[in-house]
């Protein structure tokens, strides 16, 4: 089954990409954007039918590889 995960930078960590996007929007004349933060999104196809087991697997993958826990958070969204 397919599991979706979002990885975001922790609040305190600077996000140069988000910042540049916000500035660019501003330069393009889109002025109502206060902040942009960029993260990552993953779709993981796990060979597992039981949703709970699949989620456990995904947790494991997030911890072991997909995130650097010092600066990033993750959220399994489906």
């Amino acid at each position: 089954m397919k599991i979706s995960v979002i990885v975001t930078l922790k609040k305190e960590v600077l996000d140069p990409q988000g910042k540049v996007i916000q500035q660019t929007l501003n330069n393009m004349g889109i002025k109502n954007v206060n902040e942009v933060r960029q993260g990552k999104y993953f779709e993981i196809e796990i060979n597992e039918k039981d949703p709970n087991k699949a989620k456990d697997s995904a947790e494991d993958i997030c911890k072991k590889l997909l995130t650097n826990s010092i600066v990033e958070n993750y959220k399994i969204i489906s």
Partner: protein, 224 residues
């Protein structure tokens, strides 16, 4: 001195660093990342490049290589570990060095000569360096060093900041910061000062006819 350069899939400064080491009379060996044993060595080098294409996070996948466990053991015994550019990023991902290397502030890859100032001469790496500033090349997309206040304070208190970006006369200013690094940091050491990670490439400055020969001072200092 004996050195070992580890090659990861996608490393591309492995040949350059090996040449520089040999030029300054290190006895150097190359090692493929899949090996499970380090040869007898004083220095382990993680070279620059794009290990695994810089995919996911820079250095994150190389940090899971088999040989990394051995590198950690080597460093725990006080052995020298040097990470240049992508090597620095790998050291961060293994947790051997603190902080994180974010994308450059302007989100552009930067390849240019910079000046750096050695801010810690107590480590094995820089103890013999007399020069006020060194002209070295940087070439990276993610060299924007960032850490929270506590970590920065710790780095300062333990004298772990090794190199800072500066101008030609040694002034450490915002103008001379190429990538947005906090405190102009270009390289840091671990607490024990045997692990060094830095963004600039001394191995590209080891010939008098090329734009700078300042890599020489680094390798000579390291050798003595």
């Amino acid at each position: 001195m004996k050195s070992t350069v580890i090659i990861f899939p996608g490393s591309n400064c492995d040949r350059d660093i090996a040449n520089a080491l040999q030029k300054y009379n290190f006895q150097n060996k190359m090692l493929w990342h899949n090996e499970t044993e380090l040869p007898k060595t004083d220095l382990v080098v993680l070279p620059g490049g794009f290990s695994y294409g810089d995919y996911l996070r820079t250095g994150s996948i190389a940090a899971k290589s088999k040989i990394i466990t051995e590198v950690i053991k080597h460093s725990n015994k006080g052995g020298l570990v040097l990470g240049i550019c992508n090597g620095f990023q790998i050291l961060i991902e293994t947790g051997l060095l603190p902080g994180i290397l974010l994308r450059n502030k302007k989100l552009k890859f930067i390849s240019k000569d910079v000046y750096v100032k050695v801010t810690n001469k107590n480590s094995k790496y820089f103890k013999e360096i007399k020069q006020k500033v060194l002209k070295w090349h940087i070439a990276h997309n993610e060299g924007n060093f960032f850490a929270n206040k506590n970590i920065i304070k710790k780095l300062q208190d333990n004298d772990q900041i090794a190199l800072k970006y500066c101008d030609a006369s040694g002034g450490i200013k915002q103008d001379s910061n190429p990538n947005g690094s906090i405190e102009n940091i270009a390289g840091i050491l671990n607490e024990q000062k045997n692990i060094l990670g830095m963004m600039p490439h001394p191995e590209r400055a080891v010939n008098e006819d090329i734009y700078s020969n300042d890599g020489k001072f680094f390798f000579e200092s390291l050798l003595t």
